[in-house]
Symmetry: C2
Subunit: 414 residues, 2 copies
């Protein structure tokens, strides 16, 4: 099954918004075993939209269109659909009522513009939007289906999750999509590729391999469409176990979870708790951990000791440590890690202090110098990293490396 | 000048890689005054690539193509260009020598595949790649130029920055690109559009208007290409002042800065400092503030009191407050704000406690209920919000609303 994603919106063409909908939809389609043949983005312009609908229909069995269904005059997608597929706008009573209730619940005045969102071409199938005002629409011509969804990510995702079985699997197939993933943390991408080159050559040719790098990590994904899923899964798992063996302590079998979800799962499974004392990461590690639903099961609290006065007053860092070793040092992160652990009564206390940049470097400590300390009931350990990236990347890498150090201690201690 | 971005690569279609090249190129083009008419992504397939080259050439004066120039067999872009534009591959001595030196410097063996990267169609202009192996290529047909660049972001960016003046401004123009922006915080997009509808109709037709919504805010951008920049700027500023007047306390003249940069600039300019006590946002507000270089000028520290025991031990929240009002309440955020302000000796103490979701709701307090408190030297105030979004969106909105409340107090107090 060939899928094309078509995203509509001027804001996607001026460089101010990352097109996260496309990435998410590509992932959904791929994991369903569909093949995404193209992603296109055009502006809020009726001619551009109808041209794109037409071209996508030639390439794909399913075209997922997002955006431009909002209430304002620059939203042109419904007009374009009407022009391309024909039909007349008719009021859909259930949708108008749903919109009315939504506004009532939020205590907002209902405008004509919002009611108009409940008028849909009579040539379309209506898909209810459980979390927003704009309903979705489906059109079919020949063997191709076009599904129109709102561009608001939360609304789009909910609607795809409600209908994906119908949309992605409407052609029966005897093959199943199977994938599995390993993440390698803190190892350069080219070193990973060199280390894996002979392993890669021995993979069967029906397996697809993807290297997916992001800040501080490289994700290795093996996938295939196969008529014997159990057998294929066995081959994939065996191949990934070879990867795990090639990077001892650096590779983790994340199986499709995000790094944060994997970290949460591993700590929760072992019933361990964590706290964070952050300087250069400024709360980012705490944010990453608490972005996962249910994170209160593993995370109790943290301190962002950005100024040295806070490191001293809250975490017992001494004048002597700051004078002799500086704020970015082994002694300081060890003290911070031990103290935050004690203050929160958690299994692990994690501390990060570094020079995120662009300012703050010294001849001895260039931008990207980061010390990370981990305290547990037995010991406190610390490591220094030279990341050398830009500010945001150094902050991201520091958080990922700190999480990795905790997991390493867990594997050693069990 | 119309620009189309064409990104090539199977990895962009399986949902594992965010297409950051497209966003970056869109931003570059927009800021140069060019109009991006479409962004397309296709896989490593010669027919798909040549079709996309053809369609893009019909829409755009400049087509920027990235990806698929690597040394491996799944890179098909050069073959597709050869097929579409004609010509013969010829060795480019300067490029082959550059590649040889690059491998020597890195101590890596030079392979036939890498030397082949220095063979370029004789129909192309060659653009040297200062940081990688694959050179860029330019082709012209009629009034349209196609520029091919490597997909590695660092290489692509360096090459664009070296040539952007030629590529984006190859049509001589006496016009200058001018833009200015206002952000409206905490007001629904459709309400913003309704309020601005008659204002919008009075705008001169040479001005472009964009509504750019993201979590908790709507950015209003006015832009134009104009031969008299001073005069045009005057018209834009006057129009945006009308927007500021229509949303008193909710609209901010951000002038192209991000919300976080604007917040930092306003506090730094007034020499004010801030601290954060976070529960449901889990460190995200501190992270947003400290993501800006130089943020130590305004931010001293924060506490992430995720568990109630931390709210009590660190911020003086009492049993009585928790029992009578609950952790998500006016009394709790006021106490947290006052105490974090005192503990950090800052001008403002900001506290956030809410139910980010998906769990934790009660009949009285649905998901998205968030209390925000702000303490300064004179007073402590608090406001409740019903955000009703998903977890990540509620966290983002809460941080943005807290920053807005601080700016509101600043405008009132001076």
């Amino acid at each position: 099954m060939n899928v094309e994603i078509l995203n509509i919106g001027d804001e996607l063409l001026n460089g101010t918004s990352q097109n996260t909908n496309a990435t998410w939809l590509c992932g959904k389609a791929s994991r369903s075993g569909a093949k995404v043949v193209a992603v296109s983005t055009v502006g809020d312009d009726i001619t551009q939209i109808t041209d794109a609908l037409d071209q996508a229909g030639k390439r794909a069995d399913l075209v997922i269109v997002t955006g431009g269904l909002g209430p304002t005059s620059d939203d042109k997608t419904k007009d374009a659909a009407l022009q391309y597929f024909g039909g007349t706008l008719v009021p859909v009573a259930t949708e108008i009522e749903r919109i009315r209730v939504l506004f009532e619940e939020r205590g907002l005045p209902l405008t004509e513009r919002n009611i108009a969102q409940g008028w849909i071409p009579d040539t379309a199938t209506v898909f209810t939007n459980p979390v927003g005002t704009a309903p979705g629409m489906g059109f079919t011509r020949g063997a191709t289906t076009w599904v129109f969804l709102p561009g608001v990510p939360a609304e789009m995702k909910r609607m795809v999750e409600a209908h994906e079985k119908d949309w992605f699997h409407h052609q029966p197939t005897s093959q199943t999509f199977i994938f599995d993933e390993v993440m390698i943390i803190g190892v350069g991408e080219s070193f990973v590729a060199d280390t894996l080159s002979s392993w890669q050559q021995r993979l069967p040719d029906w397996l697809s391999l993807a290297y997916l790098p992001s800040a501080g990590l490289v994700k290795i994904r093996l996938s295939c469409l196969h008529h014997a899923p159990g057998e294929a899964r066995g081959v994939i798992v065996k191949a990934l176990q070879q990867v795990l063996a090639l990077f001892p302590g650096d590779a983790f079998h994340t199986s499709g979870l995000s790094w944060d979800q994997y970290f949460f799962q591993e700590l929760k499974f072992r019933n361990r708790s964590i706290s964070a004392a952050e300087s250069c990461t400024g709360g980012y590690l705490s944010h990453r951990i608490t972005s996962i639903p249910g994170s209160s099961a593993i995370f109790k609290g943290g301190m962002v000791t950005y100024h040295n006065t806070m490191k001293q007053a809250w975490l017992g860092v001494t004048d002597q440590m700051l004078e002799q070793d500086g704020a970015v040092s082994e002694s300081v992160v060890k003290q911070m890690a031990q103290e935050i652990r004690k203050k929160t009564d958690t299994d692990f206390g994690v501390a990060i202090s570094g020079i995120a940049g662009p300012d703050g470097a010294t001849p001895q400590k260039p931008v990207g110098t980061v010390w990370i300390g981990i305290a547990d009931s037995d010991q406190v350990s610390a490591k220094m990293f030279l990341m050398g990236g830009d500010r945001i990347r150094n902050i991201e890498k520091s958080a990922v490396m700190a999480m990795k150090m905790v997991l390493n201690i867990l594997s050693i201690s069990q």
